[in-house]
């Protein structure tokens, strides 16, 4: 069995992973919420607001000093989309107690910080403090507007947004400016109570620490819970478009960003899931993929061109940074290479190196606490108890026919090009 997961409170699960090769430990608390335009801003706001002021740390200075005094421990939140879900992670990386001077316990200090943040936020009139909520809202609005700064990521996100036709999986993880503005201190406090009382929580602890202490601590944090419904799920993108949706966006940029979104219909746990990872390597991920070897190396059309697979939603994107006038050439080559995979035109070398690359990646997971935590969480979410060796064997068993079969599921859905300003 890959992991031992304990149910420590209704809807709260604790998964420890012991390893002694690191100087630092990691504890991550993940709240699993539905991806929703109204709650996305609240996922992003709740912990930044709380860390502005708790009962013991009444200001940012006190909070940050506490972490610095805990041997520069890191503590913070991270919000990501996973298909139709949004995962809110509150995590800490902290040095092992053996590096503490004079027998201090860094772990005790970290659990105390979690206690403050999860159980003792500062409130006024039964809500969060308005000035902190307003201040964090402004920061989040800046972050949402600032998405345009990184052209590559912006183009990718815009393509998915157009693909989604308004479905939740296409929204910005920050939420929209209007939805951010609409958050009130009362609503945010209510949402915080909902997270603590009613949302499924997955906790991982990786490293060398007293796991019983950690598990008992979180059992206490969540002990007021009643039963939590297990009704939040993600599903594959429903590809029912009859013709490709095409979108051109104009900005004053030097380079065009072509992003193609495809439906695959293949999600974690499907029969073709492992072959889909191999397909992605063969087709567009890494320096021996067909896209790199042809769009970049053979035709010199770009510096970056690659595919990425979103298996929580059953979609794939291909992105390329190109000169505006090379749009058609790049598109043709991207589609031609996909056609080749469909036809099974995959050399032994391509298949073999794709598998080796995936295997190498899996073997390296246990070399970082963050990677271990992410791997365990991913395995929990997909209910995959297979060991590293079993997963390697699955990859090795993939054939050219399997990869070609995956390619046959790949269908172009949305065509997006971020290009220069049209002549005014």
């Amino acid at each position: 069995m890959l992991y031992t997961r304990q149910n420590i409170a209704p809807g709260v699960y604790f998964t420890p992973s012991k390893t002694c090769k690191f100087k630092a430990n990691a504890i991550d608390v993940r709240f699993i919420t539905p991806l929703d335009p109204k709650t996305a801003p609240m996922n992003n706001l709740v912990f930044p607001v709380i860390t502005r002021a708790t009962e013991k740390y009444p200001g940012t200075l006190e909070f940050r000093r506490a972490l610095l005094n805990l041997y520069s421990a890191a503590f913070g939140d991270d919000v990501t989309k996973r298909g139709d879900l949004q995962i809110l992670k509150l995590g800490s990386d902290f040095l092992n107690d053996k590096f503490a001077i004079g027998g201090d316990s860094i772990l005790d200090g970290i659990l105390d910080v979690f206690d403050q943040v999860l159980c003792h936020p500062l409130t006024e009139n039964g809500a969060f403090v308005k000035k902190y909520v307003d201040s964090e809202k402004e920061k989040l609005i800046d972050a949402e507007r600032g998405r345009v700064n990184n052209k590559g990521r912006y183009a990718h996100d815009k393509c998915i947004e157009h693909m989604s036709d308004g479905a939740p999986f296409g929204i910005s993880s920050n939420g929209s400016v209007d939805d951010i503005n609409a958050v009130t201190p009362e609503a945010l406090y209510e949402y915080y109570r909902y997270l603590i009382d009613s949302v499924r929580v997955e906790i991982t602890a990786v490293g060398d620490m007293d796991f019983d202490k950690v598990s008992a601590f979180f059992a206490r944090v969540f002990n007021g819970r009643k039963s939590v419904p297990d009704d939040i799920h993600t599903s594959a993108y429903a590809a029912d478009r009859t013709e490709v949706k095409t979108v051109y966006e104009h900005q004053s940029v030097q380079q065009g960003k072509l992003v193609l979104a495809f439906s695959t219909g293949i999600v974690y746990g499907d029969k073709l899931a492992v072959a889909t990872n191999v397909f992605n390597e063969v087709y567009g991920s890494g320096t021996t993929s067909k896209l790199f070897m042809n769009v970049r190396e053979k035709l010199s059309l770009c510096y970056s061109c690659g595919s990425s697979m979103n298996m929580a939603k059953g979609i794939m994107t291909v992105s390329a940074g190109i000169m505006f006038e090379n749009e058609k050439k790049a598109y043709d080559e991207i589609m031609l290479q996909l056609e080749k995979v469909k036809n099974g035109e995959i050399s032994d070398f391509e298949l073999d190196s794709a598998k080796k690359s995936l295997i190498d990646y899996i073997r390296g997971i246990y070399d970082g606490t963050g990677a271990i935590s992410g791997f365990i969480f991913g395995s929990v979410m997909t209910e995959n108890q297979k060991s590293v060796d079993e997963r390697i064997a699955e990859i090795e068993a993939v054939t050219v026919a399997d990869v070609a079969e995956v390619a046959k599921h790949v269908k172009l859905d949305t065509y997006y090009f971020l290009c220069g300003k049209e002549d005014a």
């Binding site: 940012t60 610095l68 201040s135 600032g146 030097q254 010199s300 073999d352 190196s353 190498d360 246990y366």
Partner: protein
């Protein structure tokens, strides 16, 4: 234990490395780690700043176009038999890459198996250049698009424009990738000239981490590396005045909110290695005290909501050194004024000993932390190029005294050392 091998150890944190010079002239380092991942970084002390050089004994200096070190890095992956080195690594599942900075060019791989085979590939392709006019031409389009990608990147422009402000003549301001124009002058002959000067094994280093032995490494070195006569490289670096070149640079991009970097120039770079390490540690503690997460300056900016993503750092290199404070804000000039007023206040009021001790301890913790990385050779190589032995760097941190802080503020912070680079939204237009 291998003959002539030296061990350098930091017992208090349980880390060490092995060193031995290979007969080819190459310095070889191994940081043993209990990781599945084995990581190798093969680097030459040659970067964007090295645009004017000669070998000892040669009369004339060779002057080369901006961006050539980076161009050379791209072209090293082509082999005479028409293969690409990425393909060779892929046959063993290794993840290979390369990068160029102002001061070095590095080639690397990470793998969990077939370590010796991968190391042989790395040492082989980096020591066997093959350039033709056709292969050099092919890269113009690819690197041209890499440059265009950077030109759309406001953060890169911001940083590069800060270097323009800081330096009048120093090569430290050269853009690593060059420009579309400068790279158009690169030829196969020029690439060979750079290669033959800087890719001599006596100017290179091999640093490896993971669960391997020096015997493994040396057996591959013996097999692959040619024995080379050391070469003495004469690099011509332009002199640089202590004052900044210009105080402001403002550029426009299609972004949402202005971004800024305040640059603080430092031309007082110690030549003695111990002093250099000490200054590096002292200035980094000072920057954390003055601008770190718990500093009055950072807290003030955060609580007033004036700056998003504020960060500060100090960089000390052999030829260039500066501090940088950056973030996103509505009014960069306001932040600049707050910065200059704050520095003067610090000069008057100083720091508390308690704050100093807290920050110093956190610097030490950050140092220990770095040993959890599977990419330790990067940190070690960056440090070694500046003459810092990373394994002992904790001693430098420990040696920094409270009493040094205020004199250091007075030395590093003066009006004539300051500049600011700003990137602001394109005027008169709105994003849709």
């Amino acid at each position: 234990m291998m003959d002539g091998m030296q061990i350098f150890e930091n017992k208090s944190i349980g880390e060490k490395y092995y060193y031995k010079k290979h007969k080819s002239g190459l310095d070889v380092y191994l940081i043993p780690k209990d990781f599945s991942v084995k990581y190798a970084l093969f680097s030459t002390k040659y970067g964007a700043v090295d645009n004017c050089f000669r070998l000892e004994g040669e009369k004339d200096f060779t002057k080369v176009p901006d961006g050539i070190a980076h161009y050379l890095e791209h072209k090293m992956f082509d082999n005479e038999d028409g293969t690409d080195s990425f393909e060779k690594f892929a046959a063993y599942g290794a993840d290979a890459n390369a990068f160029t900075t102002s001061h070095m060019t590095a080639y690397l791989f990470s793998c969990t198996s077939s370590f010796k085979e991968n190391l042989a590939i790395l040492l082989d392709y980096v020591t066997k250049p093959y350039f033709t006019p056709q292969t050099v031409q092919k890269e113009q389009g690819i690197i041209g698009q890499e440059i265009k990608m950077y030109e759309d990147h406001p953060g890169r422009a911001l940083y590069h424009n800060m270097l323009e402000c800081l330096y009048s003549d120093s090569q430290a301001k050269i853009n690593v990738a060059g420009t579309v124009e400068s790279i158009s002058h690169i030829t196969a002959d020029l690439l060979y000239s750079c290669y033959n000067t800087f890719y001599n094994l006596s100017n290179m280093r091999l640093v490896i981490s993971g669960d391997v032995t020096m015997d493994d490494i040396f057996s591959v070195c013996d097999e692959v590396l040619p024995v080379q006569e050391p070469k003495k490289i004469v690099r011509s670096y332009n002199a640089e005045k202590p004052q900044v070149n210009k105080t402001r640079h403002v550029a426009q991009f299609e972004i949402a909110k202005p971004m800024f970097i305040i640059g603080v120039k430092n031309t007082d770079i110690p030549t003695d290695k111990q002093e250099f390490m000490h200054m590096s540690a002292a200035a980094s503690i000072l920057y954390s005290l003055m601008f770190g997460s718990t500093s009055p300056f950072a807290i003030d900016l955060y609580e007033k909501g004036l700056v998003n993503g504020f960060s500060a750092s100090f960089d000390l290199g052999e030829m260039a050194s500066y501090g940088a404070l950056s973030g996103e804000c509505a009014d960069p000039e306001q932040i600049y004024t707050m910065f200059t007023e704050y520095v003067e206040r610090v000069k008057r009021e100083g720091f508390t000993r308690e704050d100093f001790e807290m920050v110093k301890r956190s610097e030490y913790a950050d140092y220990i932390w770095k040993f959890d990385s599977t990419r330790l050779p990067n940190t070690f190589t960056f440090c070694m190029n500046d003459g810092i032995d990373f394994i002992n760097y904790s001693d430098s941190i420990k040696s920094v005294e409270y009493e040094e802080m205020l004199p250091l503020v007075n030395k590093l912070f003066r009006d004539e050392y300051y500049c600011m680079s700003v990137v602001e939204p394109v005027k008169g237009e709105k994003n849709e």
